[in-house]
């Protein structure tokens, strides 16, 4: 007890030393507490973000595959291998008591070409003509005619400003063609030969219109019903889930708003959001840029308005702008020139008057969308699939990383993958055998083709009569269709009917599980530890000799999953440096203090204090310092964590939203955090005290007396 008393007295006597050492200990304890809470919270929230959205606790991939699965890093199929016996694997793994579900997967990207605005409208007109729907033909034709008129007007304005001599021949011809298509005679004769008119419009006119929209979609090909049930962050926003066993596509709401929505409308939304955050149009350069784009890209609106819609929108804009201006381009330009005073009114007017009359989303719920993928062999594959609705991962609405994942049914995914079935392989092998081609290597090709004994070969086929050529034409080569046959051909056909049938076909669970998948997500039961789950799964893989590799969610997530490890490393290094510095400073302070206390220690020794008692006195002093200042640091750290744990920290960018598992980050200190921080501070303090204590032990009464003299 006396030692504690002396220790406290010393702390109070040597205030500067105590302040320096104590400050360091407080800082070290604070850093440990904040760091541990940060790591622990990120780990927990990231785990929720990743595990419950797309990854599951464990991912399976083919053992020995060239590339390791990387859910958030993988842009294409990569060489992650294939799982061929998914049905068997699923059955075996789901039999483990630790496992809740196994979900088949494949992650890939595809392109959806929107076509330019005129292309899209012409396609609608072609379909209406083929369907013989006179009413629809009339509606769409009038819209196309209006678009051609706008294009003609625009090109005439262009001609007025530019030197025609500088125009390319193609451009000059294009201008002439557009002018021709804008003549009444062209449209008056449309019904006489609609296909010829369509060919003219598609080939000569549409290329003069504004650029093509291209949408890049990243998707998870999966058993959509299982995916929806197993990943609890998944929730529908618009439309309906894909019916069980059917083909379909669900677009992530984030992607839907960012990429599929009409660009002008999207920019208005972004301005609204930015203003809600406190920004001002007058001072925000990015908002000014969005306004500028909305003004210059007026065609995004005017091209989409048919006659009736143009009249309605024109009247509303004239009323809002208090003008009699009739030029729609000028009206839209003026309408989009918003400021802090009129923005909300014009935003509301846009959604009330303009939005219902334009195609607000390039793909709408219920649309059949055509997606283009690149098969594993590298060639393009295209499929039609119905868009059933939009969804989001709860709490990750604004995260680009989670928002980039869309959902595609497994059967369509397999079609896009172009996986070589045995039948396909056999067919290819037969074609190759028939060709008789000898494979040449790049390095030796030139020598083999043009080296000694080889050379150019010229064959004269003039003797082969057309009949001979025809004789070797494949029997299913195209037949020469007569113009009449083409014009009267009924819409739809075997390929199209097949596609239609696929749309409503319900696949059995055996069919879904029976085909190839690229990976599989394992969701563990709620209270199962990840390490235990991994061990059980790996044991089963070994036992059943499955050609599989199991990755925990961190490893399967790629760089994102390793982020916690990086934070750990950075924090550990910071703490190490802080402790090293503390160690040196505490040590020096105590050495100085020891030297100052030589007389006191010598006196203690003179009155009978043993060396071990001196050592103990120093240790107790260090212990008291560690406890007092460590506790202060821990209390301070705990208070900060508790404050932000209650109010949250705003996740101000996409990555932070993903790490936080939501728009705000709520740090929390794990139960073991405080003891760990206190023990760490204590150990460092005691180590720092060893040398000064050793010095003190060596002080003799004689030395103390000499010191006093």
């Amino acid at each position: 007890m006396i030692l504690i008393h002396i220790a406290l007295r010393n702390l109070l006597t040597h205030k500067i030393k105590s302040a320096i050492v104590g400050g360091l200990l407080v800082f070290a304890a604070l850093l440990i507490i904040l760091g541990l809470s940060l790591i622990s919270s990120i780990d927990t929230s990231m785990s929720k973000s990743i595990v419950n959205s797309v990854a599951g606790h464990i991912q399976l991939q083919e053992k020995g595959a060239k590339d390791e699965l990387s859910i958030f890093g993988q842009m294409g199929s990569n060489e992650i291998g294939y799982i061929h016996n998914f049905a068997e694997i699923r059955k075996a793994i789901e039999a483990l008591p630790e496992v809740a579900a196994v979900v088949p997967m494949g992650i890939d990207s595809s392109i959806v070409f929107g076509g330019n605005v005129l292309d899209v409208k012409l396609e609608a007109l072609r379909n209406a003509v083929k369907a013989g729907d006179a009413k629809q033909v009339d509606i769409v034709r009038r819209h196309v005619r209006r678009m051609v008129a706008l294009l003609d007007e625009e090109l005439k304005n262009l001609k007025g400003f530019s030197d025609q001599e500088k125009m390319s021949d193609d451009m000059k011809q294009g201008v002439i063609d557009v002018t021709a298509a804008n003549q009444p005679v062209f449209w008056d004769s449309f019904d006489q030969d609609p296909f010829a008119h369509l060919e003219f419009l598609e080939n000569k006119i549409a290329k003069m219109a504004i650029g093509e929209d291209m949408l890049m979609l990243r998707y998870v090909g999966t058993d959509t019903e299982r995916f929806r049930k197993v990943f609890d962050r998944f929730e529908m926003v618009d439309g309906t889930p894909i019916p069980p066993g059917q083909r379909g596509f669900l677009i992530n709401k984030f992607t839907y708003e960012e990429q599929v929505k009409h660009k002008t409308a999207r920019r208005l939304d972004k301005i609204k959001d930015r203003l809600a955050e406190g920004a001002k149009i007058a001072t925000d350069d990015e908002i000014k840029q969005w306004i500028k784009l909305n003004r210059t890209q007026y065609k995004e609106i005017t091209f989409q308005l048919d006659d009736a819609a143009t009249a309605d929108v024109k009247a509303a804009l004239q009323d809002e702008l208090q003008t009699k201006e009739a030029d729609m381009a000028k009206l839209v330009d003026a309408f989009m020139d918003v400021n802090d005073g009129n923005f909300q009114k014009r935003y509301d007017l846009f959604y009330k008057v303009v939005a219902p009359r334009i195609r607000l989303y390039g793909i709408r719920v219920g649309d059949i969308m055509t997606i283009n993928g690149f098969s594993q062999s590298g060639y393009a594959t295209t499929v039609n699939v119905k868009m059933y609705g939009t969804f989001r991962f709860h709490g990750l609405d604004r995260s680009t990383m989670a928002g980039a994942f869309n959902v595609l049914d497994l059967m369509t995914y397999r079609d896009l993958l172009g996986y070589m079935t045995a039948d396909k392989k056999a067919e290819i092998a037969k074609l190759q055998a028939q060709s008789g081609i000898k494979e040449l290597k790049r390095d030796t090709a030139e020598a083999e083709l043009f080296g000694d004994g080889a050379g150019e070969q010229v064959e004269d086929a003039s003797d082969a009569t057309p009949a001979q050529a025809a004789a070797v034409t494949p029997t299913d080569a195209p037949a020469a269709a007569s113009p009449t046959a083409v014009a009267t051909a009924t819409p739809g056909g075997s390929a199209k009917l097949f596609a239609k049938e696929l749309e409503s076909h319900v696949y059995s669970q055996d069919e879904l599980d029976g085909g190839v998948v690229r990976s599989a997500a394992i969701m563990l039961k709620p209270d199962v530890d990840l390490k235990v789950g991994m061990a059980k799964v790996n044991a089963l893989i070994d036992e059943k000799k499955f050609a599989l590799k199991a990755l925990d969610w961190r490893a399967a997530s790629g760089l994102v999953g390793n982020f916690v490890g990086v934070i750990y490393a950075v924090l550990a290094f910071s703490i190490f440096v802080i402790f090293l510095v503390s160690l040196v400073i505490i040590n020096n302070s105590l050495v100085m203090s020891t030297l100052e206390r030589t007389r006191e220690i010598g006196t203690m020794r003179a009155i009978g204090a043993q060396r071990w008692e001196i050592l103990l006195m120093f240790m107790v002093e260090a212990f008291v310092m560690a406890i007092v200042f460590g506790a202060i640091g821990c209390a301070l750290g705990y208070s900060i964590v508790a404050y932000f744990g209650h109010f949250g920290l705003l996740a101000n960018n996409d990555f932070m939203i993903f790490l936080s598992g939501g728009p705000r980050f709520y740090p929390a200190l794990p139960g073991w955090g405080l003891p760990v921080a206190m023990i760490a501070v204590l150990i460092v303090t005691l180590i720092s005290t060893l040398y000064p204590a050793w010095l003190a032990m060596r002080i003799t009464p004689l030395a103390a007396m000499q010191d006093s003299e």
């Binding site: 060489e79 076509g115 330019n116 396609e123 390319s168 369509l198 060919e199 598609e202 080939n203 000569k204 290329k207 093509e212 055509t370 283009n372 098969s375 594993q376 062999s377 590298g378 060639y379 295209t382 499929v383 039609n384 392989k425 067919e427 290819i428 074609l431 190759q432 060709s435 081609i437 494979e439 790049r442 090709a445 020598a447 043009f450 080296g451 000694d452 050379g455 150019e456 010229v458 064959e459 004269d460 003039s462 082969a464 057309p466 050529a469 070797v472 034409t473 494949p474 080569a477 195209p478 269709a481 113009p483 046959a485 083409v486 051909a489 056909g493 075997s494 390929a495 199209k496 097949f498």
Partner: protein, 269 residues
Amino acid sequence: MKYFLPICLFLSALPAVAQEAPAPAAPDAQPAPLNEAEALKWIQQLDDRQRNSGDYRTNIYMERKERNKNDVVFDATVFRRDADDKLMILFQAPKAEKGKGYLRVDKNLWMYDPTTGKWERRTEREKIGGTDSRRADFDESRLAEEYNIKYEGAEKLGSMWTQKMTLTLKKGVDAAYAKMVLWLSTSSGNTLKKQEFADSGKLMRTTYTPKWVKKFSPSKKGDVWTPKEIRIFDEVEKGNSTTILLKEQDLNSLPANLFTKAWLESQSR
């Protein structure tokens, strides 16, 4: 009697052709250097020999090999109407690809997929069927029209002497590659080797055409030359290559409405 007029026309055209044709030379003898005008004539002749004034049809076989991937193989039919700058490629096999096609009308390159019923615009850089081939590999040769020609000199290709020329794309022309180097046969004037470069100067493809076939065209009243075998090596993704065999050229007239979307669509019904 009915052949009299065509024969007369053919004979009257011969001196003109003979005048512009490269002087035949033995492939093992070093040829005389060309001046710029002569080099241009070689290229013009190259274009002219491959052009048909009427229609053209050929069946092709394409095989793409890519490292660590399954081979991609197609049977297809190529249709051309050079006078109208029209081209169509209709896939015949394998079954999964049957009915797909490309249609070039004016400067538009369309791709059609019967399973989706959709037409999509594609660019000059489109890899036909995902192979290393481009639209221009199957279309009428328009090198003199689209490129500026520079003569590089005589050079040996294997054991054969060739005339080497560099062609750079003219301003305003859209083509897959900005520059190409050709090695032309001194005996036939045909292209034996071609290297194509991106805008950056990076070598993209090397193509060999060791086999050529000529066929008399009544409409042209002259031979139409076509490569019979094309070997394309991808110089960016080393190890990838495409081989194309062109078979059974037919120079008879094709139906008037063949180069239309409607016709191509009708083939998959």
